[in-house]
Subunit: 236 residues, 2 copies
C-alpha cells in the first residue's frame, strides 16, 4: 500500500498514483485533489467496462469534482487498465473474462475496501460518495450497499443484467443513502427494462432516475454537470 | 374576452382575472406577473384533475416563475373550477364527466388557443412554455404538439391512459420542443408503464425523464424548483 511516485499536476488538480496489495493482487490507483483547496470530501470513481481508471470521462468528472473542492480516487477494475494487457473492447467475452479475473465480484469489493482504507489512513476520514456508470455501477452499487462510509451515489447504465446482475438485484434493497440513477432510453448494451428494474429495487426512498434518449454512452453533458452538483449537495 | 376586475396583489406577483368566450363556453382565467419586473417570457399553467386554475401548487409554481421574472397564465380546465359546481374529487366518473363536458379534448385545445391569443393581443408575443402535470399533461401535451408558440414543456404524471390516452399517444411524436417529464414510481392513479410509454413516444430527442419514488401527488419539492429552472433555461 503506497504512493507510486507517478504524480502529475493537471489544470485544476494534482494527481498522485498509488498501488495496493490485496489478497495477492496488485491494484493500481490514482488520487486527485483540487489545487489550492483543502479537500474535505471524497468521491470514489468507478470506470466503465473496457475502460480504465484514467478514462477521459473519468478525468472530466474528477475535474468537475475538483472544481467543487472535492477529492476523488479511482482504481482499475477487475482485469482492467494496468491489470491487463488485453484489449477488452474486442468482444463481450473478453470483458466477462476480465470481470471474473482478480476475484470477480468479491475481489472487486475487497479492492475498493482496501482503496478507501488506504486513503483514509493517509488523509483521514471524510464525507464520501460514489460516482460510477455501467461497470462503475456493477462495482458501485455493491460497494454502496456494503460500506456505510458511502453517503451518496451516482449510479446507472446498469440493471438486472450482466456478470453480477443477480448480486446487484440482491444488494439493491440494502442501499440506504441518496442515489441519482441515469438511464439511457435507447441503451443498446444494457436493456432499458433491466435498468428500470434495478432502480426500482434500490432500497432508499431518496432516489431519482434521470432518463435521456440515446445509446449507452450518449449521456448529455448536462447530466455530468448535474451529477457532480448532486454529489456536492449530498455530501455538503 | 376581457379582464374581469378580480385583481389581487400577492407576495411577489400581481394577479389579474379574465374571462374568455370560446364557442359558446365561458372560460375563466388568471394572469400573474412578477412584481417590479417586465415579464418578457410566459408560461401556461395546466392544473391537475379535480383541482382548478388557482390550486395551491399552481400558485407555488406561478410564484417560482415570478421569481425568475416570468409571467404565467392559467385557465380552468374542461368542467373544472369555476366552470362547475360539482365536487369532482368524489369519484373518477365525476372527473371523466367533467373532462368530456365543454367539448372534451377538442374544446380544451380551443380554450388554450383562445387564452394564448388573448394574452398575446394584450401583452405581445413572448417566448412561451408549458407547465402541467397529470390533467395538466392531458391538456399540455396536445397544446405543445399543436402550437409552435410553445418552446419548452414540463409534463408528466400521465401516460397512454385515461380519457384522451389515445390522443396523447398519437400526438406525442409531434412534440418537437425540449421536454422535462416527471414520473412518480409508485403512482397509484396513472400506471407507471403507461407514463414510460408516453415519454418514449415523445418526438423530440431533447427530453429527460425524472423518476422519483412515491404516489401520484408526492413529487419532491426539489423537482418543482428544478422544473422552473428548466423552463427558465429553455426560454432564455
Amino acid at each position: 500500500m503506497a504512493w507510486n511516485g507517478k504524480d502529475e499536476s493537471l489544470e485544476n488538480m494534482e494527481e498522485r498514483g498509488f498501488e495496493l496489495h490485496v489478497g495477492g493482487r496488485i491494484v493500481p490507483g490514482v488520487y486527485w485533489t483540487p489545487k489550492g483547496s483543502k479537500a474535505e470530501r471524497l468521491v470514489l470513481l468507478g470506470h466503465g467496462g473496457t475502460t480504465h481508471k484514467k478514462a477521459d470521462y473519468i478525468m472530466v468528472v474528477a475535474g468537475l469534482l475538483a472544481g467543487k473542492g472535492i477529492a476523488s480516487l479511482a482504481i482499475d477494475g477487475p482485469g482492467h487498465g494496468d491489470r491487463t494487457t488485453e484489449d477488452l473492447s474486442q468482444s463481450p467475452e473478453k470483458f466477462e473474462q476480465a470481470w471474473t479475473k482478480d476475484g470477480g465480484h468479491d475481489g472487486m469489493l475487497e479492492d475498493w475496501d482496501a482503496a478507501l482504507n488506504f486513503i483514509e489512513v493517509e488523509k483521514g476520514a471524510r464525507p464520501t460518495g460514489w460516482w460510477g456508470l455501467s461497470m462503475g455501477t456493477m462495482m458501485g452499487l455493491p460497494v454502496t450497499a456494503a460500506d456505510d462510509r458511502i453517503k451518496a451515489a451516482l449510479l446507472g447504465l446498469m440493471g438486472s443484467w450482466g456478470p453480477n446482475g443477480e448480486e446487484l438485484m440482491a444488494l439493491a434493497p440494502k442501499v440506504s443513502c441518496p442515489v441519482r440513477f441515469l438511464v439511457q432510453w435507447d441503451d443498446e448494451i444494457v436493456p432499458r427494462d433491466a435498468c428500470l428494474e434495478l432502480f426500482t429495487a434500490i432500497g432508499t426512498s431518496e432516489k431519482t432516475l434521470h432518463g435521456n434518449p440515446g445509446t449507452h454512452t450518449a449521456i448529455p453533458p448536462s447530466e455530468f454537470i448535474d451529477s457532480v452538483n448532486f454529489l456536492d449537495e449530498m455530501l455538503a
